[in-house]
């Protein structure tokens, strides 16, 4: 049956080819929209859980990296968190701006700096070199972009300052640091120049040691199932800070992405409608051309259900072949669009707008297949209800 359906379609190769192309384009668009619909928040969720920290604690009313607000006098809070029986790991983070002077240059390089606890950090992955030592005062890890801008490599020394003197237009409090490693920062946007150093060192360098600030704290709970309970307990124990589980953060993030999801639903629906129109038109045209043949088949005893199956199969074959080509096209365009969208400033480069997950592929395939089947139903119904005698009479005259 499939062979007959395909041979019927191959009667008009150009027409079938153009329809397949159209189906492929709409399938690609549908796939991209399905991937976009749930891709960014899934990707964001996975990113937040990359290092297993399921809870974030930020200044009241904020999200991590959402503002420049900080939790001051953070050491007692950190100590209390570490003392919680369900808490496995606590990673404080301070965000600040540092200035580095490239070798042999007068200009300054502005760096995004993270003050972290080298033993409890969930912000970076080592690319080359060695990690900061637990008491790594005078040590720094940098992103590849920062290393390039500063002209340093692992083992080199770099001079960093925590501020600028606006009157003298020069740095203040310059300190030498040993570059221990080049690292990949998980939450950096594309091309970001970042440096990481022990939290106390950054606090001293930025002149905030007396306030003991942290921007947020990452908390890892021993068992995922205990996360909601721990988050609730920490909220009650520390009402002056914002305690959010990754689930909470994802919910907030999802709310912010409502526009993306609506856009993807609308465009995905449009692509399905276009696919249905394309397939429906082609199959209707091919059926109209074969009314005499179909009436003759019915006359020689071919059942309505067989005729319907053949026509729906033609529509389905177009959908499957066009959809397969569309899947490839969709993945390629998604990758291209992803490189454009993730280049937006302020977005972590490691998040993806388009996530090719099996469930996204399955949803797109099921929607497209359903559309293909529906598109074949009308012409098939028409063929099945054909008045045999008058159709054969018209064919003979």
């Amino acid at each position: 049956m499939l062979g007959l359906a395909w041979r019927n379609l191959a009667r008009h190769p150009l027409r079938t080819g153009l329809t397949l192309l159209g189906v492929a384009v709409t399938a690609a668009m549908l796939l991209d929209m399905v991937m976009l619909g749930g891709g960014l928040d899934r990707s964001f969720g996975e990113l937040l859980l990359t290092r297993g920290y399921q809870i974030r604690i930020a200044p009241k009313g904020t999200m991590p990296f959402d503002s420049e607000a900080a939790i001051t006098q953070a050491s007692p809070l950190i100590a209390a968190l570490r003392a919680h029986p369900e808490v496995e790991s606590v990673g404080p983070v301070l965000g600040a701006t540092l200035y580095g002077r490239p070798r042999g240059a007068d200009s300054l390089v502005t760096l995004v700096a993270y003050g972290i606890d080298p033993q409890d950090q969930g912000l970076y992955r080592l690319v080359r070199g060695r990690d900061l030592q637990p008491d790594g005062t005078g040590q720094v890890v940098v992103s590849a972009e920062a290393a390039a801008a500063l002209g340093v490599a692992v083992g080199d020394s770099v001079r960093l300052a925590g501020g600028l003197d606006p009157l003298a237009a020069r740095t203040v409090e310059v300190h030498p640091f040993e570059v221990r490693a080049v690292v990949e920062w998980l939450y950096d946007f594309q091309g970001q120049r970042s440096a990481g150093l022990p939290l106390p060192a950054l606090q001293r360098l930025t002149g905030t040691a007396d306030r003991d600030p942290v921007s947020f704290v990452m908390v890892r709970v021993a068992h995922d199932g205990a996360v909601p309970g721990v988050a609730t307990a920490l909220t009650e124990a520390h009402p002056s800070v914002e305690v959010s589980s990754v689930t909470d953060l994802m919910r907030q993030f999802r709310d912010r992405l409502l526009y993306f999801r609506q856009l993807s639903y609308i465009l995905g629906t449009i692509s399905l409608v276009v696919a249905a129109l394309l397939l429906g038109t082609l199959v209707t045209v091919t059926v109209n051309e074969r009314l005499g043949e179909i009436a003759a088949l019915r006359a020689i005893g071919i059942r309505r259900s067989t005729i319907v199956s053949h026509i729906v199969l033609e529509s389905t074959a177009l959908t499957v072949v066009g959809g397969a080509a569309g899947a490839v096209l969709g993945l390629v365009t998604a990758r291209y669009l992803d490189t454009i969208l993730t280049a937006f400033p302020g977005l972590p480069a490691s998040v993806s707008f388009f996530v090719a997950r099996p469930d996204a592929l399955s949803v797109a395939a099921a929607l497209l297949l359903g559309t293909g089947l529906l598109a074949g139903v009308y012409p098939a119904w028409r063929a099945a209800r054909l008045p045999l005698a008058s159709t054969l009479h018209e064919e003979a005259t």
Binding site: R7, G292, E293, A299, I300, G301, T306, H393, E395, A396
Partner: protein, 230 residues
């Protein structure tokens, strides 16, 4: 024995421009097994309509028709379709072969529909194509065959499920005289082998070789003559 067709007061009227047009108008006709019947008459006299009624692809507006003892108006579409598949073979003026299938695949189509296993239907199609003189042409597509060859494939297809009767509508209408003669010879052979034939035709040669000639005029039977060709 139950007749192949038994029609009483059979009528088929159409509505056209607000008027009732009687294409077939009160036909009484019984066709017994083994008969070779030609239906003749001027264009528009209702020959094809009568054939369509006999084949169960059109419904009468009045009268009764039994096909192998089964009243067609009481049969559901599914039953009529099954009856056509197994008991009635159709041959059309314009052949109506599927152009995307080979000669053999066209013949195998009604066999597949009847649920005949693949090996058996391949053998049967090969045998039938040899019977109609197309051995060696099994894998040719209709576009690679002449008109006469296409009609022979159509006859082989009509014979696929060993029907009780073959209905043919102007089977030589699209063929030249020589090719038409080959089809006539084939029908003669089919009749000699015991197949019941009911053929609508304008072809005088075809009409001459039948054992019974039914003449229609304005939807009515005006002459019904049996001749012994034995």
């Amino acid at each position: 024995m139950t007749p192949v067709f038994a029609a009483q007061g059979l009528a088929r009227h159409y509505r056209s421009n607000g008027q009732t047009v009687p294409a077939v108008n009160g036909v009484d006709l019984t066709v017994e097994r083994g008969e070779y019947v030609v239906i003749v008459g001027p264009s528009g006299c209702g020959k094809s309509t009568l054939l369509h009624l006999l084949g169960g692809i059109d419904q009468p507006t009045a009268g009764t028709l039994e096909i192998l003892g089964r009243p067609v108006t009481a049969l559901r579409d599914r039953e009529l379709t099954s009856l056509r598949l197994r008991e009635v073979g159709f041959v059309f003026q314009r052949f109506h072969l599927l152009p995307v299938l080979s000669a053999k695949e066209n013949v195998m189509l009604p066999l597949a529909e009847a649920g005949v296993p693949r090996a058996a239907r391949t053998a049967r199609a090969t045998e039938l194509l040899a019977y109609v003189g197309l051995a060696g042409r099994e894998h040719h597509r209709p576009t690679q065959l002449s008109g006469g060859e296409m009609q022979r494939v159509a006859i082989a297809r009509a014979l696929a499920n060993e029907p009780t009767v073959i209905l043919a509508d102007e089977p030589t209408g699209e063929l030249d005289a020589a090719t038409g003669q080959a089809i006539l010879d084939l029908f003669r052979r089919l009749h000699a082998d015991g197949t019941t034939l009911v053929i609508v035709t304008h072809d005088a040669h075809l009409a001459d070789q039948a054992t019974r000639r039914v003449e229609l005029l304005d939807g009515r039977v005006v002459a019904d003559q049996s001749r012994d060709r034995g």
